[in-house]
Symmetry: D2
């Protein structure tokens, strides 16, 4: 077996990482912690894992965090860590959506870099304020639209950018799930509870949770921004307060057209994220169920299967790969790539260097675009699917 | 190998079949002829294969048709055949769309049953007139929305009807192709010429050619009729006179929502017809690339793969199967099922019996629904994707 | 939809066809009849569908055969048909294996061409005698190793022959089924009864029924003949008299090595015929579950998907295709190609012309090779998997 | 997205880990380091990354290892670390095969637990000695047959053990690659060099490198040991000194039969490990290209798709899963599970507790079985594929 690991970055000093949210009973935090660990770029040293003191402390203990760095308030944490000579350099925010903005502000104001879950905020006003604050502080701010970290997605983006598809025409993005087919939010499932609660999730349910992922991926790969959308959001499960199915028509700058479908009631789908892009010269297809494969057809030629690090794979995919072709890399590796690239950016900022152009983690601007997408879709759907311009 | 052919119907007398269109240089005619032959229900004995006399004659000769039954005018053919004691009992109409209506009228008026390609007509007015004429004459009229003949589509329809999916929520239909990615209509390709010509195709390009197939399939399987649609039709290839990409949002009676995408510029897709249906209790997925498979998920259970005549297959699929599981049946077999069922219906009418409830070829009403779908989509697209009610 | 049917051969006079076997209660006969009909090359006009007079007559009636041409003895049929001016020109033999040889002899001696199911005979001695008789009579003799009729198999053979794979190294053939997982032969299933009966099937069970198909396919595609084999045949189901699982190592002329696996007890497999071929320059993969696809990898390049009549498909595949890419052709179409090619050969013989080099139906020599394969595998397995030379 | 990470084990103190081999220019070491890190069970604190002093030091620096714990001799390392109060508790051996035994002895003799790459040794004598030493010292000894760490492989094993397949009959294991299609060992590729060198690899080339993986997986899932095998090993690439293709027939205790194919010249295959198991009641299929899926067919029922943590998944799969269904876990996660389970065993030994029955990393005995398999296959192949008993 010919193993060549491109990302054994252990030589670099680990960045000191804190986390807000992600304590006992919460779950996305664990994914962020594995992602942070995988390429050995970070060491978790502090956390406000919960706003309940006892749970915050217990969670810190679980995670081997020194108790003097286990906080039950993010404000206290930002202040205390900023004051330490060995204070955290970067914080991961893994709370429900409505808390992203105030927490991010606290750490940015303390000069601490931020990695934040998505959607960025619950209103575009908050998001715009954050954009301004990030620019002002010069901090790195990564939003974990993690699917953009998959190697073959990087190749897809590069192929589009290099003109392999010609002028783009049709973009099909979809993200079906089925976990909210029934009224899970009434069963005590914490994830379902806050994700269907407008006060914590914002105006989008399925739209914000996974629709924004599909949207980001489509924009990331194509390099295009939609100008307008026409949406029908539906709440199929009785009594649910947010949409659980999202159907959107898109018009992109330059004339491309697209459909975006996201659903949390499509029985038989787990996390069926899929992207298809068609242009004048070629077409691309990718699905998360088989993330190491990228299908490409040059018009008039047989379809080709590019595989992660396989024959003919592009360097943009190789760069974010760890193991040889045929050995599947998955979700955690793609997520880890976002963390690794954020680390590269943070180190560059710390040393006053330019951030390498290869680094392409989703930024605060991507986060803002996601929030604007949510607002436009909600507005369109409320107005009988009228076309709404995306700022 | 355990072969059990359920459709070796050779015992029954063959129906005398005529054909209009489908001569030398035309091609869908050959598919109809194979379909007619496959289950031995028909014998082709007459034809107006072309309106040019020389070509009509040559085509008849190619096909072994007696020259006195080779016509160069459908009017002459309808009249002459109606007058013969051994005249045709049924005619296949395989011309460009704009000729379907006058030809069908001529044969119906002569008391001859009709099998007609789709879309039925170029205007709903013509289609409504045909519906009235069919009812008046009592003739069988089948429209070759052939995909409804696939065995696993029959099972899908039965599973929905039996409530295996619960109340339907989301319906995703798509039919991407890529053969019109470039301006093929300028290269002398006859198929491309008339299919992109409004005078011969009607108001829909891709919409009429394959969008109607996806639409019919969605309605056939779900048993639902859409109430309204919002469409964006696009012509991507410069100079083309009809749409080559179709994106439609659908609202069904009962609250289900759907997306329909059809394209003739999606590079890498040959005939990618696919249907997915999701309800409160289960989900179904089917694709023409693997037509002998039907994926079903009961919510909370592992996904199941039903195969044509395989373990657990439903009788509705078995009935229209010819060979054992694992030996693929394909497009021609599904097409032949429409012909076989039309033959059963014609024989029933001839003998004054009821048509068996198992017979479910697409009818004149399905043809009319397709034309109304085209008109609604065109109207919506012209009016900025406004929701348009489907009559 | 751009339909171009390459095989609408209706212009040619139909050959007069007879059938032995395939009456009521038998089933492979129906497949042969559809295959004969599909390309309009044959008309079934006579038959000895059963050796029981009543059943023979009833079967003929089912099939619309004139009663004076319904026989209950193949000897009588051969004699009577040979004496008629409108007698059959070719006979299909679809009986259990042990009857192939005497029936074939009777018709060959009457100067009638033969299409015969496989395996050719139950002993190689009989098969060799038939080879001699075919050469003596000059009759066409086709053996229905029907899988060689699939278009992408034709392309595979051409790609190997043209050197696209370089020198061949490894050949993997498999054909798993599961229909004999339990003792079906005791349940009244006729197919299971004779296929597990050495008196009617010969020395091979699974080996003869499907192992020979996999073997023929491997030889057909690679153009190689094995020199020797080492086999372990197993009878898993208690009381069964013939093997139901076959595992064979192969050594080919020129140094290639192969494995052949066939099974009738592999639960979850319907008709899982699959072939993989690897050489110094490239590799090919094909499976009956997706017969319109052929995967090809040139070493150091991304894998390519060739599809029937799709972009880049080879003419050898196009020639035996009927409909456009993306519309699946299946088992019956491949089977029909064998019939069509036999018809071309018969017509050539009748008119004293050379048989077209494109015609490549399996011949009597292929049939003999299959019987020798069975005998070698049985001998090896009985002798502790010793390597046995294949004549 | 409902994320529940079951393996965020950060609470436990990290075990102090050393590594032998895996320095600059070597690659499997990086995989072991990621695997060790992923579940936060280990901290790498010492290493003899190379026997060249300069490279050993540079590698240590790359990896952030204190220079006083960077060794250029494993003997020195074993001695020094054993003497430190903060010495390593466990060592990973990631050198070419011929060094596994002496290195393992050194650390076992120093009372240090071992995680060792495969095949365990180059002779069964060495392997047997190691087994004895492990028993004597009471140390944990894990062999990284990492594929047994995939969640769906754990479910497969459990399903077999629970009788879901009934009595096993047929086992098909394969592992095709293509990276040695040409003479890569002459091009300066270190991996190819030592893997084709009998002095460093032992008697098996492809056989030892990946054949043993397929063999271990087949035994792990079925719970069966083969009694005898018949092998043909081939060296296709001229001048190569070890086999590059392996074809083996297997006889298992209890009557099951199997085929094992491994190849490094099968063009178009990257790491195509695949296992299929068939019994009297059901069948299972799994492939590394889609490792989160397990196909199961109960005889007479439709095929079912079990997915990692999906509906109906078994607890044995859930236990070694980290993220929700539909988000692919891959090779590194499976590898990490072996490391995590070794950590659980080491902690149990350290605290004098029983090792949890859920822990099922491959042991020294599995390693010995692999070496015996190599020796038996080589002996059989040399003796014209004679059946050789496996001790």
């Amino acid at each position: 077996m010919a193993i060549e690991a491109s990302q054994d970055n252990s030589a670099r000093r680990r960045l000191r990482l804190g986390m807000v949210g992600g304590g006992r009973g919460a779950f996305i935090g664990a994914v962020h912690r594995i992602a942070a660990r995988l390429d050995d770029d970070y060491e978790l040293v502090a956390g406000a894992f919960s706003s309940e003191a006892a749970r915050a402390r217990a969670s810190a203990q679980d995670l081997g965090i020194a108790l003097d760095r286990a906080y039950d308030s993010y404000e206290a944490m930002a202040q205390a860590e900023a004051a330490r000579s060995d204070g955290i350099e970067v914080v991961s925010i893994v709370t429900p959506n409505h808390l992203h903005a105030p927490i991010a502000r606290a750490f940015l104001n303390a000069g601490i870099h931020v990695i934040c879950d998505k959607p960025l905020t619950t209103t575009s006003g908050e998001a715009e304020d954050l954009v301004a604050l990030v620019r002002e502080t010069g901090c790195v701010f990564a939003v974990t639209h993690n699917y953009s970290g998959y190697p073959m997605i990087r190749q897809a983006r590069a192929m589009v950018a290099e003109g392999e598809l010609g002028t783009l025409r049709v973009i099909q993005a979809e993200y079906p799930q089925d976990w909210l087919t029934e009224r899970l939010e009434d069963s005590g499932n914490k994830q379902a509870e806050w994700r269907t609660d407008p006060a914590r999730s914002g105006a989008g349910g399925c739209l914000g949770d996974i629709g924004t992922h599909a949207y980001h991926l489509a924009c990331f790969v194509t390099g295009l921004q939609p100008e307008a959308l026409s949406a029908q959001l539906t709440t199929f499960v009785e009594g649910r307060r947010l949409d659980d199915d999202v159907q959107i028509m898109l018009r992109f700058k330059g004339g491309a057209r697209g459909l975006l479908w996201a659903s949390q009631v499509a029985v038989g789908n787990e996390n069926g994220l899929k992207l298809r892009v068609y242009g004048t010269k070629g077409g691309l297809e990718w699905a998360q169920t088989d993330p190491n494969s990228l299908w490409f057809t040059a018009f008039g030629q047989p379809k080709q299967l590019f595989t992660r690090r396989g024959a003919g794979a592009w360097p943009q995919a190789d760069r974010v790969s760890r193991i040889p072709p045929g050995h599947p890399e998955g979700y955690l590796e793609g997520f880890a790539t976002i963390y690794s690239e954020a680390a590269r950016a943070i180190r560059a900022v710390q040393s006053g260097e330019m951030i390498d152009a290869e680094v392409m983690y989703p930024t605060i601007e991507d986060g803002l675009a996601g929030v604007r997408f949510i607002e436009a879709a909600v507005a369109s759907s409320r107005d009988d699917s009228r076309w709404v311009t995306i700022p």
